[in-house]
């Protein structure tokens, strides 16, 4: 293994800012920025560790949600809404290697819009709401932090 590791480097950068740079800074603004930079490094370290699992869970959930919508059948998606085509595109995007996450999220945006506007029936809306609830929970877990005071 190469040393220092990425985490050791990040931790070292934080100590450099805190112990070598901060004592030399007299401006409160510069001190605030330095503290924010330390926070940014903490965030980066956490993201390096958690982001791959977050991304994998997102893709898995999007695929599962679109699969569930497909199982409901076309009769739940009004022809005029354009959502049948959206669902077909989302399914293809999820089957790609690697999956086209952006296309799947664009499709989910179309479904979320239909739910917000009351344009689809409850059996479809239930799946969309389920995904959004889980997505928000994952985002909170990934980004669970607070704004630095700088």
């Amino acid at each position: 293994m190469l040393r220092p590791t990425l985490n050791e480097l990040i931790s070292g950068m934080q100590r450099t800012i805190m112990e070598a740079l901060m004592p030399e800074l007299t401006s409160p603004y510069a001190q605030g920025q330095a503290m924010s930079a330390i926070g940014m490094l903490t965030h980066a370290a956490a993201a390096l560790e958690s982001a791959p699992a977050y991304d994998a869970a997102e893709i898995k959930d999007l695929r599962a949600t679109f699969a569930a919508l497909k199982r409901l059948g076309d009769k739940h998606l009004p022809k005029k809404s354009g959502l049948r085509g959206v669902l077909a595109r989302a399914t293809r995007a999820g089957a790609k290697t690697p999956p086209d996450r952006s296309a799947m999220e664009a499709a989910m945006a179309a479904f979320a819009t239909a739910v917000a506007l009351g344009h689809i029936d409850e059996s479809v809306a239930r799946h969309v709401r389920g995904y959004i609830r889980r997505n928000l929970e994952r985002s909170r877990q990934l980004l669970g932090g607070s704004l630095p005071s700088g």
Partner: protein
């Protein structure tokens, strides 16, 4: 300052806050009539990037109009649009005393201070909304042509910025929110001057109440429910306290007493949805400017951390969860 000479800038320091501009505090010392005089000042210079793309001349003119009208604002003093003077346009205003916070009114403050600040907050809003923008010389803000314009204009404006600054990412909740706003526009009962960022965190205060309302760069003409909706968003004060100041229903009741106008719940809700979407878009703008190297402000990447709360509030409002 035609009779002043020997100007000296002292104790210059950059300060945090007002993230849409670089903000500097300093003391100006000068000689006039044989005497040495000093005045505490604030300089606000255009940033290279940041949260908002706004016009400093417009902001200066709004603050000047508010000062003339007797609202609690810092006295605006000088506007310099020539970028050759200090790299970018800037303006200078009086530096008022007092403290401010980043968001909700600090929970640690005395109840007596909180009560005074809450009363002043709504009194100033009532005074702002009672002003005739024409008498204030603020037609420059662009008067809506009809009472159904404000909701449509604001929703379209922030949707356009969302499309511009989302860096190609899709945010299903935000996309749905803008579609909902477009499909459910409300009609105002009158056109008033809207501060555009009227909330806890944007005033200076002490134990006697509010000293000055700050950050007028998003001022425009629109629906009075816009500032009330923004000020009472869950985001600025979790739980039941609007902006950390006062229980939400009491806040609305006091607004009605101070303004003599009813709180229209349908319009209030529309502007709270718009407010959450707008704040999320402001975060995306800051992130984009950081990613595209227009700003090196270390606070910008942390704006991402605000998104789950804003999107969660939107999802609740639109019954997306």
């Amino acid at each position: 300052m035609p009779h002043a000479s020997e100007h000296q800038v002292k104790s210059l320091k950059r300060i945090s806050g007002g993230s849409s501009r670089e903000t500097y505090a300093f003391d100006l010392e000068w000689s006039e009539g044989g005497e040495t005089r000093t005045r505490p000042l604030i300089g606000r210079r255009d940033p290279t990037g940041g949260l908002l793309k706004s016009d400093r001349e417009r902001e200066f003119n709004v603050i000047a109009a508010m000062h003339r009208a007797g609202l609690k604002v810092p006295e605006p003093l000088f506007l310099e649009l020539d970028a050759g003077v200090m790299d970018r346009p800037f303006f200078i205003m009086h530096r008022a005393a007092g403290q401010t916070g980043m968001g909700a009114f600090p929970a640690a403050e005395a109840d007596s201070t909180r009560t005074k600040v809450a009363g002043d907050f709504l009194s100033e809003l009532a005074r702002l909304q009672s002003l005739d923008y024409r008498e204030c010389g603020l037609e420059i803000l662009g008067a809506p042509k009809s009472l159904d314009d404000p909701a449509r204009i604001q929703a379209a404006h922030w949707n356009e910025i969302y499309e511009r600054d989302r860096l190609g990412e899709h945010y299903p909740i935000l996309t749905a929110a803008f579609a909902w706003l477009k499909a459910n526009p409300v009609v105002s009962d009158r056109i008033v001057i809207v501060h555009g960022d009227y909330r806890s965190g944007n005033y200076l205060y002490d134990e006697n109440g509010i000293i000055a309302m700050l950050d007028w760069e998003m001022a425009h003409l629109g629906d009075p429910m816009e500032d009330l909706g923004w000020a009472s968003m869950m985001f600025w004060g979790r739980e039941e306290f609007a902006g950390g100041l006062m229980e939400r229903e009491a806040f609305y009741k006091l607004y009605e007493q101070k303004t003599g106008h009813r709180v229209d719940r349908e319009r209030l809700f529309f502007y709270q949805v718009l407010g959450n979407a707008k704040m999320a878009v402001i975060c995306l703008t800051g992130i984009r400017d950081f990613v595209e190297r227009r700003t090196s402000d270390a606070v910008m990447p942390f704006l991402e951390l605000l998104l789950p709360a804003l999107l969660g509030d939107l999802a609740n409002q639109l019954r997306l969860v």
